[in-house]
């Protein structure tokens, strides 16, 4: 072995190489974690917008059932044809496809890629003082797999029969028989797309964990990691261990759909009045178990990164250490572990047995404790701080009560006796949207406003940021608050006509009570709020793009005066991140340390004695 020759040669070659990186290598096939993070971010935001637009169109059908959709009705008719949008009216199959794809896109193509892959990629290596991810080329492959998954999902809208229409949960046997007229159909595309997305997440998760374990800078001990890194670490483990069972389930459902097997199809199955020629012997419950084994950890994948972002921003803008850093770390680890043993709280109504239900009810109640601890730590951290109400801080602050509402309304769903009534109603929709929409999405907005100056060297506009914040906050609540009431009144989710069928069915003789009309009328208010929420995103979109050229320039590399390492780099950070070797001397949140001349002490600042 000739270590010297080996060490110097590639290096020299690399230097020469560096200058030559053309557009393609630099922006499209980049292995730089920051570029990949931004790729994920932009693609994810596009899908977020797309998934949102699907819902905006569906909201028309819910509010004004059977009326032609203004503006886009014609377009839908042209692109998707009579079968889907006859006369510009949304047809049932289209409603189902949009609903299923709204859920799928929002969860797997928008929130996870933004919260985990985009922020994780951009921020984690910087925060731990690493030059890049542990496996840069795997990182690139993981983005490409995600991109292809997105293409497959998007393309499926335009195939004969349209996109998958069995809900984002794709329960069997429905998923196998919802579109018998076409092969391959939307469900097949859905499965293939999911396999690509799962592959992407697995590669990403391996990379994140290996990076955090191996590439922490000198002195960056585990208890000096910013909470954001901890959150991403646990998230990566959830993806790593929870996704493979869904992949297995997807393979089995693919077999059911194309090879005629009966993994999830019971004996004696009758579809549209005909016995289907299959062997039977399968178990629909098996699909649900495998799906929710991923599905529940997945909700923590959606929320933990947002909590991490919020934590960083709260510490930075209260100018004081986070209260209970250690409790936060242990709580997030507990959540990670417990989230693997609560999944069947989604299945109380399946008749899986009261003993099992009781077990899952118990674990569900237990897992709420660490979540409450985390939120409490954040609230206490605000106490006595001299809070700077910057735009990122506004979003972070709003996250707290919004996530709080989402979390607390989850408890009645976790008790099986109350879930019997609430299951599959709009109450559930309201509950988890409080968690992911004004919860996670606000966390993501906070992160975008917060780290934008590091990525671009410019701030986003403060005024329009505040407009974006207040309008979004108001409309989000106007959308989801009434849904709690609708759900408690018994309005089912996934209703093509917004529940009209269930109104006015009162029949004293049979003891039937329909959904009172006022809850049906709420649909219109909700829809208008949703469309306004759409308008409220325009300032954000413009702000996001225009600020790249016109935003106020940052005066230093650390414009928010933060302690963590991502701000101790040049702006924007170059390939390789840090210009000199660095060492970490202290914890992540040393703000307002008594006796110091300034109110923040970066983690890598040497103590001057």
């Amino acid at each position: 072995m000739q270590p010297t020759a080996i060490e110097t040669q590639p290096h020299a070659a690399h230097e020469a190489h560096h200058e030559e990186l053309g557009f393609w290598r630099k922006y499209i096939f980049s292995t730089d974690h920051k570029v990949i993070g931004i790729q994920y971010g932009l693609t994810g935001l596009l899908f977020l917008l797309f998934g949102f637009c699907l819902m905006l169109i569906m909201r028309w059908q819910i509010a004004y059932p059977g009326k032609p959709i203004p503006i886009v009705g014609e377009l839908l008719l042209k692109v998707l044809g009579d079968e889907m949008a006859n006369g510009g009216v949304m047809q049932p199959d289209l409603y189902n496809a949009f609903g299923a794809m709204h859920g799928t896109i929002m969860v797997f193509l928008a929130i996870v890629p933004i919260a985990f892959a985009a922020f994780g990629n951009f921020v984690v290596p910087l925060q731990i003082g690493a030059p890049d991810m542990a496996f840069p080329r795997v990182n690139m492959a993981s983005y490409q797999a995600y991109f292809m998954g997105g293409v497959v999902m998007f393309f499926s809208f335009f195939i004969p029969g349209g996109a998958a229409r069995s809900g984002w949960t794709s329960y069997s046997p429905l998923a196998t028989y919802a579109d018998m007229g076409h092969h391959p159909n939307g469900q097949t595309f859905w499965i293939l797309g999911m396999v690509l997305l799962i592959t992407s997440s697995l590669l990403g998760a391996v990379n994140f964990i290996a990076t955090i374990i191996q590439l922490r800078a000198k002195g960056m001990t585990w208890m000096r990691l910013p909470f954001f890194v901890w959150a991403q670490f646990v998230t990566a483990f959830l993806l790593l261990l929870a996704f493979p069972p869904l992949e297995a389930a997807a393979v089995m459902q693919l077999m059911d759909n194309v090879a005629g097997t009966s993994f999830f199809l019971p004996t004696g199955l009758v579809v549209s009045g005909n016995a289907v020629p299959i062997s039977g012997g399968g178990s629909p419950l098996l699909w649900q178990h495998l799906f929710w084994f991923l599905g529940h950890p997945e909700v923590y994948v959606l929320i933990l990164p947002a909590m991490g972002i919020v934590c960083e921003i709260i510490a930075n803008n209260t100018r004081k250490p986070i209260w209970g850093y250690k409790s936060l770390v242990y709580s997030v680890l507990c959540i990670g572990f417990l989230s693997f043993i609560v999944w069947a709280h989604h299945m109380y109504l399946t008749g899986m047995g009261t003993k099992i239900a009781t077990f899952f009810q118990t674990t569900t109640m237990i897992i709420s404790i660490p979540s409450v601890i985390i939120l409490t730590c954040f609230f206490i951290s605000l106490w006595g701080g001299s809070i700077r109400f910057t735009v990122p801080m506004l979003f972070a602050l709003a996250f707290l009560p919004m996530f709080g509402i989402g979390g607390l309304t989850g408890l009645p769903l976790g008790f099986n006796f109350t879930d019997l009534h609430l299951h599959d109603t709009y109450y559930v929709i309201a509950h988890f949207h409080y968690v992911v929409a004004p919860g996670t999405i606000f966390g993501l907005f906070a992160g975008i406003y917060y780290w934008y100056p590091k990525a671009t060297g410019r701030f986003m506009n403060e005024f329009w940021g505040k407009v974006h914040f207040w309008t979004s906050l108001i409309f989000m609540n106007a959308i989801f608050q009434p849904m709690f009431a609708q759900g408690m009144a018994g309005l089912s989710r996934r209703m093509y006509d917004g529940g009209v069928t269930y109104a006015g069915v009162d029949d004293p003789a049979l003891g039937l009570v329909g959904v009172p009309q006022i809850f049906i009328d709420m649909n219109r208010h909700i829809s208008w709020a949703a469309w306004c929420l759409g308008l409220a995103q325009i300032p954000f979109i413009l702000n996001f793009f225009l600020s790249m050229k016109n935003g106020r320039k940052v005066a230093s590399d650390n414009p928010w005066e933060s302690t963590t390492l991502e701000w101790q780099t040049p702006t924007p950070p170059p390939h390789g991140n840090f210009d000199k070797p660095l060492e970490v001397y202290r914890g992540p949140y040393e703000y307002s340390v008594p006796g110091k001349s300034k109110d923040f002490t970066p983690q890598n600042e040497l103590e001057k004695r």
Binding site: P245, E247, M252, T261, S279
Partner: protein, 271 residues
Amino acid sequence: MDIPFTVKLRDDTTLYNAKVGIWLFLGSEVMLFGALFSSYILLRVGAPPGTWPRGLLNVPIGAFNTIVLIVSSVTVVMSWASLKLGNLGKFRFYQAITLLCALSFLTIKSFEYRDKFTHYEVWKTDGARMTGHVEGGPYFWSTQTLKDKKLDHIVFHPDPHHYTEPVKPHAGAAAEHEGHAAITIPVAEIARLSAFVPAHSTYFAIYFTLTALHGLHVFGGALVIGYLWGPGAKLWKTDPERFTNRIEISGLFWHFVDLVWIFLFPVLYLL
């Protein structure tokens, strides 16, 4: 820019990056196969008593394949050890055996598959069931094929025993081909006809899914090993330590693939 610890070990973890990576990856693989094994258990437990197909696979062939994979596991270790001793030639020799083993495994498996595709079960309208071969040895026939071909009868060579009958001392996979005299079954008396393909039953569904997924892993592993054996070995000249690490990583994966088979064999062939 260079990523630290691609070759050197990190002090506190005493690992290089790829080693952490492969163990994490294998963790996810455990969950993947774990889910399929759990599905197997659930489907089997859920099947009405006495209906789960048994004895339809050829145990000696399965056992032989098990030995093939165990041998390959040994040679993988030997090849890595050879590199540690600085001997590229020996490494090549041992890995060549590994590759041969992989190839034989897949070949044997594909013959097993083919066997199943021409082996049938008939459910008659009077409730009788029999397994055997259709005259002419066609592949992949099903009830639908009978309709499509507008046949009015088939010539069938039944096996001596049906798998739901109590196992007799000598009955088993080996007896399959002895067959009784051919019989003629009118299509009107056939309620269902299926080759031993995934659609036959949940047993064959999980059998084919598990073994095909495992086969893909064998194939993928062999590709990587083959690459490192051929063009990838150039790295040995410039960075032997890194090359040795790659062999270690591919070897860990290979062991995992073998281990999965060690579980698959008893579960699918013997139980």
